[in-house]
């Protein structure tokens, strides 16, 4: 009994230690990564890694770089496609790609805070602000300066570079710097299901087609009894802004400090869309378009004839079971569409920053950009002009190449205020598409609410 008691006492004392050690071991194995693959860790810790001697390095000499993005596999496959040429050119680096499809920002930040097992973060203009605010990204300015003979930033449109600086977010405490580099550009077009268009007697719209053309087509293409709709409106701000711009409206004031979407032009544009959604029922029901909606139907499932999307849609097209085409967006009072980009940021606390920079500097260099272009991906403007997206289908190439250099392309409007983010704005606007709110009442009210917040200093 006495022995049992002592043993029990020892266990009692040891148990917290064991548990703590177990937790510590988990953290310890992940955090102080040496920049090598697991099999190489022991070698690294016991001494210098074996010399490559000019030949292909052994597994012990290979640095593994973890890259994360959020886009579905069928789209993100474009990213995987340039990993191979990179790894061939840089055999001492292996890229491991991970898709985080749900709650991307939250998951990445959690991982950076905890395991710190991510080296490169794909970021688009709508999530750059969150990463900057969290202080997650490394300032690339000294690295760019060091490799200025390799990377020509002048090849990239300035607005794509600005998306990764605090130019867009002057109120952030993050200091000035270049916190990421754009890897690919996207321009937004109107994509059509030509099977549906043909059945209704239409051909692919030509540049200069009007809002009236779009409205009449949407109505004629709708047959709710067949679950068929003219247009796929997803209450997504990016395509919505294209309509605003086409009506001569602006999302942000010139100084970028106030929202201006509730101008008469903005109200008219949103009213045009709401009428087609509610009165004419020519748009896909909004229930179907909520993010993650189960069994949702839409353009991809062949239930909507048109959708406004970027050229990344080409990757989705491989799963479509219908014939498709794409066209310039319809012309309102003017021509306008959206241009955005997807870029890479280096985890500020990554232990493999040198290797991560080699990945970034390669893919943003002319060599890397050409590798992207040969895989249907739109590179920066200069390489685009040079290569012309030779591998892309004719209809994509013939539209995307000239459109990407067209002055109608407008950059992604950005702002960052907790509780008043773009996602929060989209949530407020959702009630437009159920008919619950009037455009003329809701837009000014929401704009006023957001502008009050934007006028305040960042908490």
């Amino acid at each position: 009994m006495r022995q049992t008691s002592r043993a029990g006492l020892r266990l009692l004392v040891l148990l917290p230690g064991l548990l703590t050690a177990a937790c510590g071991a988990t953290t310890g194995s992940a955090a102080p990564s040496t920049g090598t693959a697991p099999s190489a860790a022991a070698t690294s810790s016991s001494g210098p890694a074996p010399s490559d001697s000019g030949s292909a390095p052994s597994a012990a000499g290979v640095t593994t770089i973890k890259v994360v993005d959020w886009v579905p596999e069928n789209i993100s496959s474009w990213a995987n496609r340039w990993y191979k040429p990179f790894e061939e050119a840089n055999p001492d680096i292996k890229i491991v790609h991970e898709q985080i499809s749900q709650n991307y920002i939250e998951t990445v930040l959690t991982r950076l805070t905890g395991a710190n097992d991510i080296d490169l973060i794909f970021a688009a203009p709508d999530n750059v602000g969150s990463f900057l605010r969290a202080g997650a990204a490394l300032d690339l300015t000294p690295l760019i300066e060091k490799d200025k003979d390799k990377i020509q930033l002048s090849d990239f449109p300035k607005w794509t570079l600005d998306d990764y600086t605090t130019v867009r977010y002057p109120e952030l405490k993050t200091g000035p710097g270049q916190y990421g580099l754009p890897v690919v550009e996207f321009v937004w077009e109107m994509w059509e299901n030509t099977d549906m268009l043909k059945a209704a007697g239409y051909t692919t719209p030509q540049r200069g087609w009007t809002w009236d053309d779009f409205a009449s087509m949407s109505k004629k293409l709708t047959d709710a009894s067949k679950k068929q709709y003219g247009y796929h409106n997803a209450n997504w701000l990016l395509p919505l802004w294209t309509w605003l711009w086409q009506n001569n409206g602006k999302v942000l004031s010139d100084d970028g400090k106030q929202l201006t979407f509730a101008s008469p032009e903005g109200i008219e544009a949103f009213q045009f869309l709401q009428d087609l959604q509610i009165k004419d029922k020519a748009f896909l029901p909004i229930d179907q378009t909520l993010p993650g909606a189960p069994n949702a139907i839409g353009f991809d499932t062949g239930n909507a004839a048109m959708i406004t999307r970027g050229n990344w849609n080409l990757d989705l097209s491989r799963d479509w079971k219908f014939k498709w085409d794409l066209s310039y967006p319809p012309t309102g009072k003017t021509e306008a569409t959206l241009g955005e980009e997807l870029g890479l940021m280096i985890n500020k606390n990554s232990s493999k920053q040198d290797a991560a920079w080699r990945v970034v500097s390669w893919v943003t260099s002319p060599e890397g950009q050409r590798a992207l272009a040969s895989n249907d991906v739109v590179p920066n403007t200069k390489v685009m002009a040079e290569t012309g997206l030779a591998a892309a289908p004719d209809n994509v190439r013939n539209l995307v190449v000239p459109l990407s250099a067209d002055t109608m392309v407008q950059s992604f409007p950005q702002w960052f205020r907790p509780k008043f983010t773009a996602n929060d704005l989209a949530d407020r606007l959702l009630v437009l598409w159920t008919g619950e709110a009037k455009v003329s009442e809701l837009l000014p009210k929401v704009q006023d609410e957001f502008n009050k917040a934007l006028a305040q200093p960042l908490p």
């Binding site: 009994m1 006495r2 008691s5 029990g8 006492l9 266990l11 009692l12 148990l15 917290p16 548990l19 703590t20 937790c23 709650n103 920002i105 939250e106 930040l109 959690t110 950076l112 805070t113 969150s130 605010r133 969290a134 202080g135 997650a136 405490k173 679950k227 029901p285 909004i286 229930d287 179907q288 909520l290 993010p291 993650g292 909606a293 189960p294 069994n295 500020k348 606390n349 907790p418 509780k419 983010t421 996602n423 949530d427 407020r428 959702l430 009630v431 598409w433 159920t434 619950e436 709110a437 908490p459």
Partner: protein, 303 residues
């Protein structure tokens, strides 16, 4: 002699501690520790990866002028006030039905309990499909009986009722507790009441409810705590929308932590929620102290 007794007593204490140590360690590491950590970081402005800045009680005073703090607290309180009593009534009603001697009782009990073991996200996806305005089974039924389709999850007035109705789907866990309580009520009490001429409702009011009162209190308190912590359904199905009409308090905490990178404020909100729940629980115990009947004790309820 007293020395030996003392040693035996100490040994027993140690053995007792040993047996409860898994809980104690787990409690310290996974509850008390994080709570203490949250209390500390609630005093800082901490954008997750940057250096925290000490701000004192600013995060707490900020809540008072934060519209969304009050809005999310109001939505969560309304949800709790409606869903908990409704869920208890439904659970108790079904438990009484399942306490009857009818054929296939085991099957019915199993069927009612199954939803309680389905994971939250699966349940949310299932209900999301059922609530679809155009193609959902619920609106399909409404259309069959000549009623208009309801935009369950996309209308500010309907989204909370939709989530409350959905919460009833999980009454199975409560049913099991109520059934255990019902079966613990001595049948002699009902027999005696019958001899005295009491009818069904009178027996329910004067025997069933008082005898079940500890179980009801337990269920009520847990229900209130659980309701204030509602999160998954709103995150998966509505993400707090439309127009923040389903912005539950915990979802607001989550957004502050991970969407807005305000970990310190999120921690302060978490402590505020703890205090709110604590106040509700104290009110419940105080309000029911004279109404809860503990058959094994001469003292009536209360804490």
């Amino acid at each position: 002699m007293s020395f030996i007794t003392e040693r035996i007593s100490r040994r027993r204490d140690l053995q007792g501690l040993l047996f409860v140590s898994p809980f104690l360690v787990g409690f310290v590491l996974f509850f008390a520790g994080p709570m203490g950590f949250a209390a500390v970081i609630s005093l800082f402005d901490w954008p997750v990866l940057s250096t925290p800045t000490f701000v004192g009680t600013d995060n707490f005073t900020r809540m008072l002028s934060d519209d969304l703090f009050w809005k999310s607290l109001g939505i969560t309180t309304l949800y709790t006030v409606i869903s908990v009593p409704l869920g208890m009534a439904a659970g108790l009603g079904l438990a009484i039905l399942l306490n009857q001697k009818i054929r296939g009782l085991a099957l019915f009990r199993t069927l009612y309990y199954i939803p309680a073991v389905v994971t939250g996200v699966s349940l949310a996806v299932l209900w999301w499909m059922m609530y679809n305005t155009e193609y959902g089974i619920i609106n399909g039924f409404l259309k069959l009986v000549g009623l208009p389709a309801v935009p369950w999850l996309t209308h500010t007035a309907w989204v909370l009722p939709a989530l409350i109705i959905m919460s009833l789907w999980q009454v199975g866990a409560g049913i099991v507790i109520y059934l255990a309580g019902l079966q613990g009520i001595p049948t002699e009490l009902y027999d005696a009441a019958s001899i005295d001429g009491a009818n069904g409702p009178a027996k329910f009011r004067h025997i069933t409810i008082p005898m079940l009162s500890p179980v009801l209190l337990f269920s009520f308190v847990l229900g209130v705590i659980g309701s204030f912590q509602s999160f998954t359904n709103a995150l998966v199905m509505t993400n707090g929308g439309p127009s923040q009409a389903s912005l539950f308090f915990v979802l607001y905490i989550y957004r502050n932590a991970w969407n807005y990178n305000q970990m310190g404020y999120a921690a302060a909100l978490s402590w505020a929620l703890f205090v709110v729940i604590l106040i509700f629980v104290i009110i419940i115990f105080r309000a029911t102290s004279s109404r809860v009947f503990y058959s094994g004790s001469s003292v009536k309820g209360g804490i």
